[in-house]
Symmetry: C2
Subunit: 323 residues, 2 copies
């Protein structure tokens, strides 16, 4: 059998939690993101023939999330074919930007294409969640769902899974600053208390309801007033050097709100215009100057599309410095 | 001085909490509700010359919420004029339908009219909240705000107060069943734990975000999937005989969701059509037949308007059996 062409898929980074939407809300970025390439192979089972763009990631298909996701998909169809996968990381690992989710989402989409699209988008979310389970021990959906669906996505419920795509009801620009410190998701989760004060819970769901209303009613001021996290940010932000100063700088530069992306250490800010998002980026970067901590930063419109085929004529080509 | 004509104001009953929106969400009903009549008087201070339609309510202006609300308004303006008030209750007290809120909202609106409208609607919410503080010890806004503003109202924050009117983005019909048992708000609040499990908190704010999205995207199925309360209903519903059976009957009759109105004992259900709301009413009433508990029930569209002048030519006249 000749080698078929690779199906090449890009899945974007994502911001989960979004201040007040812990474990239930996330949104997609345009970039950065990961690419997963997939094709059928004569070798039975799953083979990972390249892991590029990141240090320390294994090519063992039972240990790398892309192998885990693909394996679950083959098992669901009771298929014993061979699949060759390549992972081209285009975003930092352990950044709080949904790195494992982007790899998992790209895999789910790519393998579905290779197999002739037997699965629904909802199915792909469930398979990609298995990558999250492998990466963090918890099959959360608030990164994989926006990476697959684009825009904002609400995960209303896990049992049963209820993923609600909200699209992009209002133009928003996201600034992300990634301070290159190591912060394990498992550590960031382990410091969370398993009980929360009722009063703080009421504030949190009031803010989340306000954020939903702000997004859907296109009310920037309400979005800004709602982007608060009184439960998790106080506990988690102590793990991120200069967090308070970066947040203050972003807000002073005109951002609507600012918080921890996922479980950190990346910090995100949302702005109404690209100019404000760029001003926030500059202000946020300035805080880390001379701190000895290296940073990466991104400005991205919140896009209506998430995962996509690369080099498909109908779609926007992806420029990707690592490939 | 001749007696001026009374300004006559109707304010509707309201459903607060709405399953997943504890302390932050409420909506107005068309009826029942209370009327407050107000006019200037030669007698200095506040005099209540009638309290009709309910047993056991005092005419002492320092003890009745309508006197308390009016007094706060005069104090805010540093006015020492005389005001005569009458309260015509058109709804049951202690029912969980915002009885004190309706009286307080009607008072705030009526006194503002008498004084020549010195206050904004936001101000009126704050004054009416003083009636709630008097009635229950807690100045909550999730009944007074929808009684004043109509439709659905989000109270995003209390400090500072941030009241977000959502209007009526989608047609909804509310069935209310009031089982005539005594249940003090203070008791219903006292059984609540001051700490909640994080897992239940996540479910609750996922559902509230789903409810907001369902309302604003006009998605009845999503509204139905979101109308759950996993924190408070299990604790409070034990105080309401036959609650589980009534809820099951409402859902079986086609209602989108069902829960405790405010802190009970009234039970509300939301439906997409008037026919379903009427079917739910019949099913809910049937549960209590032969139980020895008397019930009152109402079906009301969720209306865009709340408080309103009575007998003003521009407005719908209010038919009110108690007057």
């Amino acid at each position: 059998m000749n080698h078929p062409e690779f199906i090449k898929v890009f899945a974007p980074a994502t911001v989960a939690n979004v201040c007040c939407g812990f474990d239930v809300l996330g949104f997609a970025l345009e970039a950065p993101g990961d690419e997963v390439w997939a094709r059928k192979s004569e070798t039975p089972g799953i083979t990972i023939t390249a892991v590029a763009g990141a240090q320390g990631l294994t090519a063992n298909p039972q240990e790398n999330v892309i192998g885990v996701v693909a394996q679950k998909m083959l098992e669901a169809l009771d298929l014993s074919i061979g699949l060759e996968l390549q992972l081209h990381k285009g975003m930092p690992v352990g950044s709080g930007l949904g790195s494992s989710a982007a790899s998992s989402a790209a895999t789910a989409f790519a393998v579905n294409e290779v197999l002739g699209k037997p699965f629904s988008t909802q199915d792909l979310v469930i398979f990609a969640m298995e990558g999250e389970r492998k990466a963090s021990g918890s099959a959360h959906a608030d990164n994989v769902a926006p990476s697959l669906l684009g825009g904002f996505v609400l995960v209303r419920s896990y049992e049963p899974l209820d993923v609600v795509p909200l699209g992009v009801p209002v133009d928003l620009y996201c600034t992300v600053l990634y301070p290159q410190i190591e912060l394990k998701t498992s550590l960031a989760r382990s410091i969370l208390r398993q009980e929360i004060p009722l009063k703080k819970g009421i504030k949190q769901w009031g803010n989340l309801a306000g954020l939903m209303a702000g997004l859907l009613l296109k009310d920037y001021a309400l979005i800004g007033r709602s982007l608060h996290d009184e439960i998790f940010e106080p506990e988690r932000s102590v793990l991120i050097p200069l967090f308070k100063e970066v947040k203050a700088a972003a807000l002073a530069a005109g951002a609507l709100g600012c918080g921890i992306s996922g479980s950190g250490p990346s910090i995100f800010a949302l702005s109404a215009t690209k100019e404000q998002a760029e001003a926030a980026r500059k202000a946020m970067e300035t805080v880390y100057l001379g701190s000895g901590i290296e940073t990466k930063s991104y400005v991205s419109k919140v896009p209506p599309q998430g995962v996509r085929l690369v080099k498909s004529p109908a779609l926007q080509p992806v420029t990707h410095e690592l490939l």
